[in-house]
């Protein structure tokens, strides 16, 4: 039992689904005008403020942005894990394989979570239960969703641990999370996410807490597994290097909105939003000798409870014009799937070309 047998089972399942439903579903997930808000004593925090993007089958989509830009909340919204009553999805649709997840009952949603859509969290230290064995945590999900007996679930757990590159899998099942290192715990999290052959994995900063060599191991593992198993992935990160290495498509978020979207090449080689440009200029490069000083964007990200009618990036933007204060720019197509939400997107491009 290895990767190959698992892949074969997966292919069979996929074929059966396609036979039953008649067609292969192209758009796996479509998020439409999603708005998630938190109602606090300090006012309404518009954490996610009307984002739209989709994920195709087998594709890796990155959501990138800095702390507090709403990238994690948008992921939690897809899983419907936003903590109520403070937080609420107030508007929008999340269509997963033809079904709007927001119309499901809690009981129906429970069947989707962990089975069709799985999540890998940032902190492997806190997202595993410290008082349950690894085996129990792995088999719990399998038994819950796949209706199998304990022996089968245990076999599946052993297979999964092998799949994520953990040696001596049988012994691991009896261990507790504190016996494992951070990298190993994250492997267990990935095994749990894969346990019910999901169609989509949402990875929220999956390697941020790990050392670089371990980060590389985990990311390679996730890339290979998603490719072999045909699983789509949304990877949420603030690390622009990780995005460049793994993502097919990129959504850049700022203050609750997607401000630029496109292929990785569009975003890195032809950025058309001032914030994306600023972000790229803020990162020192490992592969180049030190040139000039970094050219960071000045100021702080805005308070999401006190947004005005204009573009949220305006106070920090060096291309801002009067119009930016009165209206929020929409995402407009530049070329193919490359879109930018900036009134001055053409001027930005000209200015960049002149500067270089």
């Amino acid at each position: 039992m290895g990767v190959s047998s698992f892949t074969a089972i997966f292919r069979q399942c996929k074929k059966r689904i396609q036979d039953t439903w008649g067609v292969a579903v192209a758009k796996l997930l479509r998020i439409e005008n999603l708005k998630t808000q938190f109602f606090t004593s300090a006012g309404t925090v518009r954490a996610v403020d009307g984002i739209t993007y989709d994920v195709d089958e087998g594709e890796t989509v990155a959501v990138v942005g800095e702390s507090g830009c709403g990238k994690s909340v948008s992921a939690l919204s897809v899983m419907r894990l936003v903590a109520e009553p403070a937080g609420r999805i107030v508007e929008g649709r999340i269509v997963f394989r033809g079904t709007d997840l927001l119309s499901l009952t809690e009981e129906e949603m429970r069947r989707v979570r962990g089975k069709d859509i799985a999540m890998v969290f940032q902190e492997p230290m806190t997202s595993l239960n410290p008082v349950l064995t690894i085996g129990l945590q792995l088999t719990e999900t399998v038994q819950q969703h796949l209706d199998v007996d304990e022996a089968t679930a245990t076999m599946r757990a052993v297979e999964l641990l092998g799949l994520v590159g953990m040696s001596d899998a049988e012994r691991r099942l009896t261990q507790y999370p504190h016996h494992l290192s951070g990298g190993m715990r994250q492997r267990v999290m990935i095994a749990m996410a894969l346990s019910c052959e999901p169609k989509l994995i949402i990875a929220d900063e999956p390697t941020t807490a790990l050392d670089v060599t371990i980060q590389a191991q985990i990311l390679e593992l996730m890339k290979n597994l998603t490719r072999e198993l045909g699983v789509a992935m949304i990877i949420i990160t603030h690390n622009l290097g990780v995005v460049a290495r793994y993502a097919d498509r990129v959504n850049v978020m700022y203050a609750g909105k997607v401000i630029e979207t496109g292929t990785a090449k569009d975003i890195y080689h032809n950025p058309r939003h001032p914030y994306t440009i600023a972000l790229l200029k803020s990162v020192p490069r490992l592969d180049r000798p030190r040139g000039a000083k970094l050219d960071p964007v000045q100021g702080q990200p805005p308070d999401l409870a006190r947004l005005d009618d204009g573009c949220a990036f305006r106070p920090r933007c060096r291309y801002a014009v009067d119009k930016c204060a009165v209206a929020v720019p929409d995402l407009e197509t530049i070329d193919g799937i490359h879109k930018s939400a900036c009134f001055e997107k053409d001027e930005v491009d000209i200015a960049l070309k002149v500067a270089s």
């Binding site: 390679e220 603030h238 790229l280 490069r285 592969d287």
Partner: protein
């Protein structure tokens, strides 16, 4: 004096500002509640040597548990070292009298990683910045001290209205600027920056990096820059030392180390860092170093990296490689290069 420190000194012709010779820091692991006995030792730092000149920034890089923070703490005299020697401006710091030590603490300061836990939440920024000056008797006059607080806030790019704020009213980047201002309050010459920008978002991180560079130029500071973020290290440092499991594995000038890494661990480390450019990434060969960092309580025999090393030969298991100079200024602890 060790060979490394000596060669460094010859090359730069002058007394090094800071010299670390064969530094060892072992933490005892004890058992028993009332009668404690030592059952093992954690070799956090196991015989490292380097020297630094005035105005220079040395990067100390490595993964968790490699001993880079412990090295910084030893230099700050926050740990009682097991053996070795730390020579600052010509004098061994272990021989300092109480008065000299107080002066040393004024000349050598630290910026910590976490801007959330390194500032006292019950003190106003004014008090946080004024306290070191009061302790060291630098500006005894209260009004002048207030003036100096405002000056420090200005230097670090913060509005003077923050003087009456508490840390929780500020963002992470602003707090880190307060941490820097606090270190500067006693006019230090040497600053240990322990992951000083690691907790910050990229755009804020870039602002703080620029601030630290400006301060280095204006005030002639010497930084020991401890970090796991190799891209930042390449940007800010003059020379870089790579540590693994308490040992130094490579030391070279910044560009030399990043362009011509020699030690297999350094190479693996550089390979593992993703570069923010999809075209470059697509052309790269993503080799992943297998395994995990062993426990420093029970390090592997011989070369500590041998269980994970791709160029390992039998000799690596038996004897620890010597830290030798393979090119002028480029030191490596590996027999197979």
């Amino acid at each position: 004096m060790s060979a490394v420190a000596e060669a460094d000194q010859n090359m730069n012709a002058g007394t090094p500002f800071l010299e670390v010779n064969d530094l060892r820091m072992y933490f005892p692991v004890t058992e028993g509640i009332i009668i404690q006995r030592k059952v093992a030792e954690v070799k956090a730092v196991d015989g490292i040597s380097f020297s630094m000149n005035k105005g220079e920034t040395l990067g100390l890089v490595g993964e968790s548990g490699c001993g880079k923070t412990t090295t910084g703490r030893c230099i700050l005299q926050l740990e009682k070292i097991t053996s070795g020697q730390i020579v600052f401006d010509g004098a061994d710091i272990s021989t300092y009298t109480k008065a000299e030590l107080s002066q040393y603490r004024q000349r050598v300061q630290v910026i910590f990683q976490d801007p959330f836990s390194s500032l006292n939440p019950r003190m106003k920024i004014r008090e946080i910045l004024a306290e070191p000056m009061k302790v060291h008797g630098i500006v005894p006059d209260t009004r002048k001290r207030d003036e100096r607080v405002r000056e420090l806030l200005n230097i670090c790019g913060l509005s003077t209205r923050f003087a009456d704020s508490y840390p929780h009213e500020m963002s992470g980047g602003q707090r880190q600027r307060v941490g820097i201002a606090r270190a500067l309050s006693v006019n230090p010459q040497f600053i240990v920056c322990d992951e000083a920008v690691s907790a910050l978002d990229v755009s804020i991180q870039a602002q703080v990096i620029n601030l630290m560079e400006d301060l280095r130029e204006q005030l002639g500071l010497t930084y020991l820059f401890i970090s796991h973020d190799l891209s930042v290290v390449r940007h800010i440092c003059h020379r870089v030392a790579v540590m693994y499991l308490g040992k130094m594995v490579e030391l070279a000038d910044c560009d030399e180390l990043f362009d011509n890494p020699i030690h297999p661990y350094t190479r693996a480390l550089l390979d593992a860092v993703p570069i923010p450019d999809p075209t470059v990434e697509a052309a790269r060969d993503h080799k992943v170093v297998p395994g995990e960092i062993p426990s420093p309580m029970n390090p592997p025999s011989g070369c500590v990296f041998h269980p994970r090393c791709e160029s390992m030969v039998d000799g690596c298991k038996a004897a620890a490689p010597e830290f030798r100079e393979v090119k002028p200024g480029h030191w490596v602890a590996c027999t197979e290069v």
